[in-house]
């Protein structure tokens, strides 16, 4: 407990020093909020203790009207890093099951989380037809969880605080929701549900509204995750930026104490948002799958 507290304090002070070094190097006079935002936004440099790495800027690729800038930025690198860590972790966890069915240690923790997702999220919301979507939901949960947590480590960047990353996750969720609905109901039934069961005269009004409703749910997922992650980091940086705004160290105790509290809250929010994203994806998929059970009743 004391050790964790010490580590969190070191993390907060480290981020304060990071802000200090960049502020002092640019201009020590005016406090500019945009400098704060630069620590949350994407950038082409990775900062490590003592030095920083400049990432290469590749020439833009022209794809017939579109100009793609494919240079790796900080968030892209952290996306790949988290994916690599997940793959290594998953392989390591799966291999531990070769010797024994009851694992110990780290693998036990992963099994606890996996069973939690299967028994609390997938089965109640999607029924038995949801078992084949468990790998996708597990990947979503662990990926977002890992990305959120790595952002809280000193010198780490939260990839999910970039709206493009969460938009990508929400796009995959959108496709999975439609695919699970079509696979469970069949294409004709799925399109029938898009009309909402009204008289055919109203279809011209109903179908655009229903299609819009299809898009709002993943959009809400995207914005929720993005705003939760970026807002937490902005609050922490703003609290520490108070020290620079007042140009004195006497605000430091109160400022660092508040920032510590917000850091604890951020830890909780990181886990919660990963869980909420997975839960809502499972619920939306469940709507599509359970729609087949309206007409014929099944005994639970």
């Amino acid at each position: 407990m004391h050790d964790t507290l010490h580590r969190v304090v070191v993390a907060v002070v480290d981020s304060a020093k990071q802000v200090a070094s960049s502020e002092a190097s640019e201009h020590g006079e005016q406090f500019n909020f945009q400098h704060l935002l630069d620590h949350v936004k994407d950038s082409h440099t990775i900062e490590l203790p003592g030095f920083h790495i400049e990432l290469p800027q590749l020439p833009p690729v022209h794809l017939g009207g579109f100009i793609l800038d494919l240079s790796p930025t900080k968030h892209v690198l952290f996306l790949l890093l988290c994916a690599l860590l997940l793959i290594i972790g998953a392989i390591f966890t799966a291999r531990a099951y070769r010797k024994t069915i009851v694992p110990h240690g780290f693998v036990n923790l992963i099994e606890m989380l996996v069973v939690f997702i299967r028994d609390e999220i997938v089965i109640p919301n999607m029924g038995s037809g949801g078992i084949k979507y468990i790998p996708y939901l597990l990947t979503t949960f662990f990926y977002i969880f890992l990305m959120n947590l790595i952002g809280l480590v000193p010198y780490g960047a939260t990839a999910t605080s970039n709206i493009m990353v969460t938009a990508g996750l929400a796009t995959v969720a959108f496709f999975m929701i439609q695919i699970s609905a079509i696979r469970a109901q069949g294409l004709k039934n799925y399109l029938m549900h898009l009309t909402g069961g009204v008289h055919w005269g109203l279809w011209a009004i109903m179908i655009p509204i229903e299609i819009l409703g299809l898009f709002t749910k993943p959009f809400a997922l995207c914005i929720r995750l993005f705003a939760n992650m970026s807002a937490g980091h902005i609050v922490i940086l703003s609290l520490l930026g108070l020290i620079f705004m007042f140009h004195s160290f006497s605000v430091a105790p109160a400022s660092v104490a508040f920032a510590l509290f917000i850091n604890m809250l951020e830890l909780f929010v990181a886990v919660l948002q990963a869980y909420i994203f997975t839960l809502l994806t499972a619920v939306f998929m469940g709507f599509g799958i359970q729609a087949t059970h309206e007409s014929h009743e099944e005994n639970h």
Binding site: A220, I223, R224, A227, N228, A231, L272, Q273, I276, L279
Partner: protein, 75 residues
């Protein structure tokens, strides 16, 4: 008053309204949870769990509006 000043002012007022709405909603949530836990302590863990999920969903909507405020404030 030029447009930038009005944008900042609107962002400030918007934040206040967002906080009003969100804290009122989550406060009612917490009150219902405490009442339910007091009446029937056996279900307190389940009730607390549901409260956390609902609070996260309400905060999701809050952050929608907050993002609009931040867009205004960075004009």
């Amino acid at each position: 008053m030029d447009a930038k000043a009005i944008a900042y002012l609107a962002a400030g007022f918007g934040s206040a309204l967002i906080i009003l709405g969100a804290s009122y909603g989550i406060g009612k949530l917490a009150a219902a949870t405490m009442e339910a836990s007091g009446r029937q302590p056996e279900v307190a863990p389940q009730v607390r769990f549901t409260m956390i999920i609902s609070a996260a969903l309400i905060e999701g909507v809050t952050f929608f509006a907050l993002v609009i405020c931040m867009t205004l404030a960075s004009k």
